[in-house]
């Protein structure tokens, strides 16, 4: 892992009015690695990756992309640069068809004379085949996303990110609402995607999910980094402690038999 | 010198016919050297109008000029104004008898039912037996009275001959066409003002009936005058709104300054405007006519 980082975030700060959500966070992500971002509720994980994805503008700090300073003015800019994000709240529109969702924001264009149309044939074909690659057989590409299960929707979102040749794929708690099988599916998808050389930022509250696929682990707490550790440098138990801020855990763990 | 008079009408903001009233009022105020104000309920709600009369009375003007669109609703507030020492003149709607009853000084206007009745008699004389009344403001009682009066003047029941045309010109036009298509043996068309008359002219033109079908209208406007001179409209009933606003200002001012008062009510209409006597009307229609 001595390759150059794709993105490096230095000392990022973000304030929302009176709330200081991020207070100097540094982080980087390299090709082909899965970097897990862990931390308590409200630690600032979602805020941090939204800053990375161009949704929020940082109040302070700098973002280096491929070694050069970057300013993303919109999620579009970040996407163009190769940063794809699957948000906690899914970022799929239930009323729209799978194809329309898959291509949303990056629709394929077919020119007829001076007019630009959306190329539905190509769009449908690609959607069906990409979904099939992910192991999901759609009834039809015109099926509304609202008729899919949660795991299937998650997969559509990942498939589209991969298809658009993302260099970095950010996943915000993709497994929190999923069953065991769906979770295993998402994790193995992460593994597969990582092997193609894409860098992955994976946010989760579940230490085992993190340990299953993570190469490095960064823990946030109240808007600050508690440090980054590589796989093998840290035990699941230590990570768990770190995520909980070390507080009161001894007592709780004791009473519950250390199985959390 | 410096008297203040308030004119309260029942018309919604957008009713164009009342411009003539406003202009007459303004001119009267200017010539007599008095302050005049025009007030109306924005949506034409008569209950709101009652509040406006109360409110005008509260501002203690020297006189109030108001329409009496609904005796039940307006008599109370008007009587209060009269009793608190404000001179009131009733214009446009209501009857002379009602004006006397609320304690108004006089009545200037055209009793709607009578005007409709007179028009009906005139049409009956011209051989009309059935008609279409295009009512663009069906919720206003005066409008229905005009149609009813016309029917009674003709001596036929009103029945389904009055349509609720709405206020959109294209809808009016098409509804008139629809009605005439469905009832091709209609003898005459009666419209109640420029709002319904203008699109009706176009409708008749479209159907090739312009000049062919008997056509009378209430109240004048630019297009109506043009149509009268073109022979499309046989007559327009002019109630001379200018006088309804102008005369009360003059009467009130002179009463306040010199204590003089005409001995009777003034009927500003109905006057039938026909192609023979257009002249000035054509130039000033919509502004002072």
């Amino acid at each position: 892992m001595t390759t150059e980082p794709i993105i490096e975030m230095r000392n990022i700060e973000k304030h929302f009015g009176a709330v200081i959500a991020l207070n100097g966070v540094s982080f980087d992500i390299r090709p082909g690695e899965c970097h897990c971002l862990l931390g308590d509720n409200g630690a600032g994980k979602s805020t941090f990756i939204k800053t990375m994805a161009g949704v929020h503008k940082p109040t302070g700090g700098e973002i280096l992309f491929g070694g050069k300073a970057m300013h993303f003015d919109s999620p579009r800019d970040a996407m163009e640069a190769g940063i794809a994000t699957v948000y906690q709240d899914l970022a799929m529109i239930p009323l729209m068809s799978v194809t329309r969702n898959f291509w949303m924001g990056r629709e394929p264009i077919r020119k007829v004379g001076p007019f630009k149309f959306m190329d539905f044939k190509a769009a449908n074909d690609v959607t069906m085949s990409e979904m099939r690659k992910m192991g999901i057989n759609l009834r039809s590409p015109n099926q509304a996303v609202g008729t899919l299960s949660g795991g299937e929707r998650q997969t559509v979102a990942i498939a589209r990110a991969v298809h658009f040749g993302a260099k970095v794929l950010i996943l915000d708690e993709p497994t929190s609402a999923l069953g065991v099988r769906q979770t295993a599916n998402v994790l193995s998808t992460i593994d597969r995607v990582r092997k193609t050389g894409i860098g992955i930022v994976f946010i989760t509250h579940n230490v085992r999910h993190a340990m299953a696929v993570g190469d490095r682990f960064t823990v946030l707490n109240r808007g600050k980094t508690l440090g980054t550790a590589a796989r093998g440098e840290i035990t699941p138990e230590a990570l768990q402690d770190l995520m909980a801020g070390g507080q009161e855990m001894a007592a709780l763990e004791g009473s519950l038999g250390g199985t959390v | 010198e410096g008297e203040r008079y308030v004119l309260v009408s029942h018309a919604p903001d957008s009713d164009s016919w009342w411009n003539t009233i406003k202009n007459g009022l303004a001119l009267g105020g200017e010539q007599m050297g008095v302050t005049v104000e025009y007030r109306n309920p924005p949506t034409g709600d008569l209950a709101d109008m009652a509040r406006i009369i109360e409110q005008a009375a509260a501002s203690a003007p020297d006189g109030i000029i108001t329409t009496l669109a609904d005796f039940d609703v307006l008599s109370g507030p008007i009587r209060n104004a009269v009793d608190s020492g404000i001179e009131v003149i009733i214009i446009n709607s209501g009857t002379p008898a009602q004006a006397r009853e609320v304690g108004a000084m006089m009545y200037v206007g055209q009793p709607e039912y009578d005007a409709g009745f007179a028009a009906g008699q005139r049409a009956a004389g011209d051989g009309v037996g059935s008609f279409l009344c295009v009512n663009h403001y069906i919720a206003q009682p005066a409008s229905t009275e005009r149609c009813q009066g016309f029917a009674d003047g003709l001596g036929v029941p009103l029945g389904n001959q009055m349509i609720d045309s709405g206020q959109d010109p294209s809808e009016i036009q098409n509804r008139v066409m629809a009605y005439l298509n469905a009832n091709p043996d209609t003898d005459a068309v009666l419209t109640l003002g420029p709002t319904s008359a203008d699109p009706t002219i176009l409708a008749l033109d479209q159907m090739g009936l312009a000049g062919d079908i008997y056509f009378g209208t209430f109240d004048l406007g630019g297009d109506i005058v043009q149509a009268i001179s073109d022979g499309v409209i046989q007559w327009g009933i002019d109630q001379q709104p200018f006088l309804q606003a102008y005369l009360p200002v003059v009467v009130l001012t002179n009463y306040h300054r010199f204590g003089v008062l005409p001995g009777n009510n003034i009927n500003s209409g109905p006057g039938f405007v026909t192609a023979d006597a257009l002249g000035l009307v054509a130039d000033l229609a919509g502004e002072y006519r």
């Binding site: 929302f16 009176a18 709330v19 200081i20 959500a21 207070n23 707490n221 109240r222 808007g223 508690l226 801020g245 070390g246 507080q247 | 903001d13 104000e37 025009y38 007030r39 109306n40 924005p42 949506t43 034409g44 709600d45 008569l46 209950a47 009652a50 509040r51 406006i52 109360e54 409110q55 005008a56 009375a57 509260a58 501002s59 203690a60 609904d70 005796f71 039940d72 609703v73 307006l74 109370g76 009587r79 209060n80 009269v82 009793d83 608190s84 020492g85 304690g103 069906i138 919720a139 206003q140 009682p141 229905t144 009275e145 009813q148 009103l158 609720d164």
Partner: protein
């Protein structure tokens, strides 16, 4: 690693105490009311707007708005709204007129039957909304047209005109009618008139009597409804259910709040308020017209929104709505007093609405932690 003092979060900057004390749903409406009164005292202070007659005038108009605003407010907090209020006003008035004048039944029968009818229609509105899950915008829009249609159709069919008078005569000596059309405190005002505090009529049959001879029942109804609705909303179990039904119907249903019943009852209450409005109007003016109540639904919604309620439900205040109605009434009448061209009233109204709602949104976000 983290701050040892857990109750103080170092990530929250400080907010002043004063700001906290001021932050309440009605704040926007309170500020607006003060501003509006200040404005008219300056620009129309000597126009008669603040003498007895003038005060009565804008109070009456505001009271009218208040009556329908209270209903609209409760309904909006319960998460729905009713565009058929205006048509309902016309319909109720016409119903009283037809029953009492055309059919010749006693006026109290007419009033009671009309209330029953209107509340039933309100319930129907509610039942359709609750059963079909359709937005109330659509359902009540349909009733806006249906009720207005009948209001024009029936009197034409029966009486061949769209306005029916003669209700004053029918109401004479009735026991129920004064509850809507009467005035109270006559003695007090005569006393004030004798003292010279308020003006007296200078001529006519009532010479010597005070120009204001009592407080119309309309105002009593308005204040009463505001008080009752406010107490119900803030102090009772049912009030909590109203907030819950509008805040999140599903969540409320899960904990056992009878959401459907609450919503239907609020539709009925709105219809009740519209009917009070119509009855007061009909008894006071003695006639019913097919055009009564046009656009009143918007005016009610505007008053409620100026008063700080959230269009999507679950948040609002009856006091705020009442102040919204007051602002509305004072501005409408005040512009006349101030001699502003009446067509500009709408422009003012639109601008006030925009500003009020922006201010209210800001306040609400502070209170509820929304983003």
């Amino acid at each position: 690693m983290s701050n040892p003092d857990a109750t103080v979060d170092e990530r929250i900057k400080e907010t002043s105490k004063l700001r906290k004390a001021l932050i309440r749903p009605e704040l926007g409406a309170i500020v607006g009311t003060i501003a509006v009164f200040a404005f008219f005292i300056i620009f129309a202070g000597d126009s008669g707007m603040f003498n007895a007659q003038g005060v009565l005038n804008w109070s009456t108009v505001s009271a009218q708005f208040m009556i329908i605003a209270v209903g609209a407010c409760m309904l909006m907090i319960a998460g729905e709204f009713d565009l058929s209020v205006g048509s309902m006003i016309g319909f109720a008035g016409m119903s009283i007129a037809i029953i009492s004048v055309t059919l010749g039944w006693p006026i109290w029968v007419a009033i009671i039957l009309t209330f029953v009818l209107c509340i039933a229609i309100g319930a129907l509105n509610g039942i359709i909304v609750v059963r079909t899950g359709l937005p109330s915008f659509i359902v009540t829009l349909a009733f806006l047209f249906i009720l207005r249609g009948f209001t024009i159709f029936f009197p034409q069919l029966i009486e061949r005109r769209t306005i029916i008078g003669g209700i004053s005569e029918a109401a004479e000596g009735d026991w129920l009618a004064p509850l809507f059309g009467g005035k109270v405190g006559g003695g007090f005002f005569i006393w004030l008139g004798d003292l010279g505090v308020i003006e007296v009529f200078s001529r006519g049959t009532r010479a010597g009597q005070p120009v204001v001879d009592g407080i119309p029942m309309l105002i009593i109804w308005a204040l009463g409804l505001v008080a009752i609705a406010h107490i119900i909303l803030t102090r009772t179990q049912f009030g909590n259910w109203i907030f819950a039904a509008g805040g999140d119907a599903q969540a409320a249903r899960y904990v056992g709040v009878p959401v459907n019943r609450v919503k239907i009852q609020m539709f009925m209450f709105t219809a009740f308020c519209a009917c009070v409005f119509a009855t007061c109007q009909v008894i006071e003016f003695g006639s019913a017209g097919a055009d009564r109540g046009l656009l009143k639904e918007f005016e009610a919604i505007i008053a409620v929104v100026i008063g700080g309620a959230l269009l999507t439900g679950g948040y609002g205040s009856v006091i705020g709505a009442a102040l919204g109605a007051l602002i509305f009434g004072v501005v409408q009448q005040g512009l006349f007093f101030a001699g502003v061209e009446s067509s500009l009233f709408r422009v003012f109204l639109g601008v006030i609405l925009l500003f009020a709602v922006i201010l209210n949104t800001y306040i609400r976000r502070i209170i509820t932690g929304e983003r």
